[in-house]
Each structure stands twice: as structure tokens, then as C-alpha cells.
Assembly symmetry: C2
Amino acid sequence: MTTIAVFGHKKPDTDAIVSAIVMTYWLNQQGIDAKSYRLDDINQETKFLMELAKVRLPELLTHLEPDQPAALVDHNESQQSIANLADAHICYLVDHHKLGDLTTAEPAYIRFEPVGSTSTILYQMLKERNLLISQQMATLMAGAIISDTLNLTGPTTTDSDKQALQAVIHLAGIHDINSFANQLFDAKSNISDLTDDALVTTDYKQFIFSNKKWAIASIETVKPDVVLSRIEGIQQASELIRQRDGLDYMLVIIVDILKQQSWAVGSNDAQNEIIEQAFNTRLNDKLLDLGNLVSRKKQFVPTLEAFYAQ
Amino acid sequence: MTTIAVFGHKKPDTDAIVSAIVMTYWLNQQGIDAKSYRLDDINQETKFLMELAKVRLPELLTHLEPDQPAALVDHNESQQSIANLADAHICYLVDHHKLGDLTTAEPAYIRFEPVGSTSTILYQMLKERNLLISQQMATLMAGAIISDTLNLTGPTTTDSDKQALQAVIHLAGIHDINSFANQLFDAKSNISDLTDDALVTTDYKQFIFSNKKWAIASIETVKPDVVLSRIEGIQQASELIRQRDGLDYMLVIIVDILKQQSWAVGSNDAQNEIIEQAFNTRLNDKLLDLGNLVSRKKQFVPTLEAFYAQ
């Protein structure tokens, strides 16, 4: 049997990388041949977590073979996946985002739950099959759940995330969750080595709203001042990315993880007006104050979809 | 909170009706307000099973309110669902077919497994939540698994179906599976009261293959001679349905459940040629011998998709 390629979305965050590793483990433990991959470089937070858990980084995957069996985790929109996804035979799909444009040629194993992280679903899948969860796997899942739910404070957090995090924290032997979370957030907020382009594209996803091609970049930080001091560079990089990727609109959202508030930076006047209307806010010195909204999946994307549906 | 409407596909078979009832039970047992519905009349097999289990038939649903929360079971292609599905807010989706054209506006709870019946997945979901399975629910699930897997002999049958059926047969207090299965199949094969139109549309699903609008009707029977004796009426009804529903092609497949073999009836010469090529068979006195193929989901649809993909 051909090995199943397991991978998360492009521009991977911690949950995308961890989900690929844990999904591979779930398959392997059931005797199914599978290997985890990443579609891009990882961010500083993920790097910190992988080193802490002493788990090897998945190999880079740039192209699928024709009819390659594939397991997609933490994404299901084709524009967020590998370029030649259409060549793949998708046999597994585990995600916590809305159901997008993907179809499968044959019945597949699919698990979506409206929870804060894909790792929460994978934790449940491991439990259902009574599979052993090693300290390494538990450490990775703890980091991914904390990362995606902003340590259980974000609006996507559910009871399932709380239960899963409590369980994996215990299995990982982590005694102080908040200290562990702060280490992750500090690593994520360490942007001094990043170019403006890298800062904007580290967590970057494309969407189609009513035929308009959008990208929404999210910069989550515990040091918003550091990010805001680079606002002109961010805006310039954003406009270059917009042109390079053939986008109509490119939005950068800066999220203060600790205070749970955010600001958006639009790429031009037309877009700023859309954001003003959709989010009932006003442009103020390049920034659009988005108040206490922080979740792309649960807040920014649905608000824009509702705006375009009018 | 608004009640969630739970329903299976149009032209419901036993698994579509049972899945809606069991999914509703799964939701209700967790304190979630939900009610099961059917989109059309039920077939003789389902009627027999509902009476045996002493479960009331779900009400007919013809239209969804705007933003109606909905749980879809045993289907996920919009053309197999309620007409104004686009108005619904889909929050649950449990199925064992390929992933089709559906999207959701927000993250939803989705469970697909490549198993023989949706009831098998629902059995696992009940077990995962440690929910009580009553004798009534077990009887319904036993009937649905037997119906969809042709009593575990069909090509879609998996170990999960076998395990689920064994468990629910026990819970239902059914001592002789084969006798129970034969009662279901006899009920399904009792077509004397059906008009040719009803015979053809009892289990009828539409598909799009490369922009061509197809319908594939399946007549599963333990008495193929009775069905074959009505072949001219079937062909006439089929052509009328093709015109009425604006289809390019209408295919009727007659499946001998016991001998595990099938014959197809095409609606015109062009379609007969497609079937001859796709299935490597020859037209013989109105019938296309499909050998031991019996599954629309696993065999007929994938073969036609592969043919059109050439």
C-alpha cells in the first residue's frame, strides 16, 4: 500500500504541524502506513514546541504524486492546501474550520468539530481507539490547543478543548499551564528576526468572498507595541503580497493575545471602507480598531461573509 | 434555541429514515433540541421495520425556514436534499458517501466514515458518548445496517458494520439475523402495489458527471424475475422521469440481493453506449449485464466518474 501523506495548511501554525504529526501517529498505531509533512516553514512558536517535545520536524512537501493517498488536517479549502491537491486521493480529513470547496472521489474518513483546535479532535480520536498517548504527543497537543485557543481564552474555546487540554497537560507532565503558555506566546511574539514580508505571511490564509479574492493575515502577539511600531513596513509588505498573489484585498490583523483585542490594516481605501462597514468601525491613523474580536475563523471570516451576502 | 431539523435524503431508504431518528435521539440525549423528518414517502421495507420497532414515522418536511438549524444524515449532495437547503444553517452532517458539493457557513460537527451504513457511524457515536441504546433504536439500526450492506454481503461492508450489527442485534433481542434480514428483503421486494413510476423512483438519486445530469435508480430485490417481467413499464416510466426532471441520462439498476448480481436499463442508445464502454458490457434485449456489481456508491458512481474523467 502506498504511504498516506499527512499535512496541514500552507503557512502552518502550531496546530497545523502538530495535527499532522498526531494524525500520522493515530494512523500508524492502527497499522496504517502514513508519514507527516509540512507545506512551508514553521513559525517561532512551533519551533520552540518541537524542540521542547524533542520531536523531529516533518519534511517539506511541495508536490503530490498522481493518486497519492492523502490525509488533510486543520484545513479543507483547496487554496490553503498543496498546489496540486486535485491529483490526490483524499482518504482522511480532520478539521475544525467551516466546510469549504473540497470534494472526494470516494467515501472518506472525515471528522469536523466546531472546537478550538484540530488537536482537540485528534485527542478524542486517540481516546476512542484506546491508543497510548506518549509524553511527546501530549506535549505537542498541549501546545497546539493553547496556541489555537489563546490558552482557552479565545472565542472558539469549547468544553471539549478544556477537557482535552487538561488531559494532555497531565500526560505531558506540565505542572504550570500558564508558564508553559507564556513561553509559547513569547516565542510567537519574537519577531525581531522576521522581515516585514515574513511577519505578514507567517499566518496567512486566502478566502473567496463573493468572487473577491481576499487574504487575511493574523499576527498574534503578547507585545503589540513591537508589531505596531512596524506598521509602515507591514503595510508596504502587504501591498506587495497583494500584487504578487493576485488578490483583490489583503487584510492584516494584529491580535493582542493577553488583552484580547485587535486592529486591522487594510491595503487600500476601498478595503478600509468595507472593513468600516462590515465591522462598524472607523479608520484612525492607518488602523481599524476591531475591539475585542480575535478569531479569524469564528469572527473575521463570518463577518465578511455576512457583509458580502447582503 | 430553535429546534434542529434532522433529515436524510430525498426518496429515503431505510438507512436515511433510521439515521434521522437515531441522530435526533443522539442530540436529544445530550439535551439538544432536535426533531427528525423525512423528505418523501418511505418504502415497504422501512414501513415494515418501523412497525416492527413500534417507532412513529417522522413527519414530512417540504421546506426549511430561513436560517433553520439542520442536521443532514446519510447524504451530503445538495441535489439529494431538500430544495431550499441553501437557506439552512447546517450544524451537523453524518454520512458514509463521498464528500460532495456542500459547504457550511461556520464550523460544524461532521462525521463521515467509509462504512456500509450511516447507522454504523451513529452506533459508534452513541457508544462514544456512553448513551443508552434502547431496544427500539437497536432494532432500527439493525434493520438499516442489514438493508444498506445487503446483510453484510455487499461490497461496502466493513468490519465496523459487522461489529455494529452484532451489537445492535444483541440489544434488539433478535435471535435469528438471517430470518430478520429475509423479512426486510421480502418487504422491499413486494412491489405489486407500486406503479412503474413508484418502482423506479423509490430509490433514486441524481448526480452530476462532467456537467451531465444523471439519475441512477436502484431496485434491490430478492425476486428479480418479478422486476424483470415489468421491464417495458420500467423503461417507459424511466423516460418520462428523465424528461420531467430535465436529466441527460436516467439509469435504472436492478439488483438481485441474494445472488449479488445486477442489470442496468438505459434510457436511450447514447446512454447504453456509455454503459457498455464504462462497464465493459454489451446490450442484450434491453438489459446491460453488470455482473456482480451491486453498489451505486462504491461501484456504479465511481465507474461513471472514472469514465467521464478520461
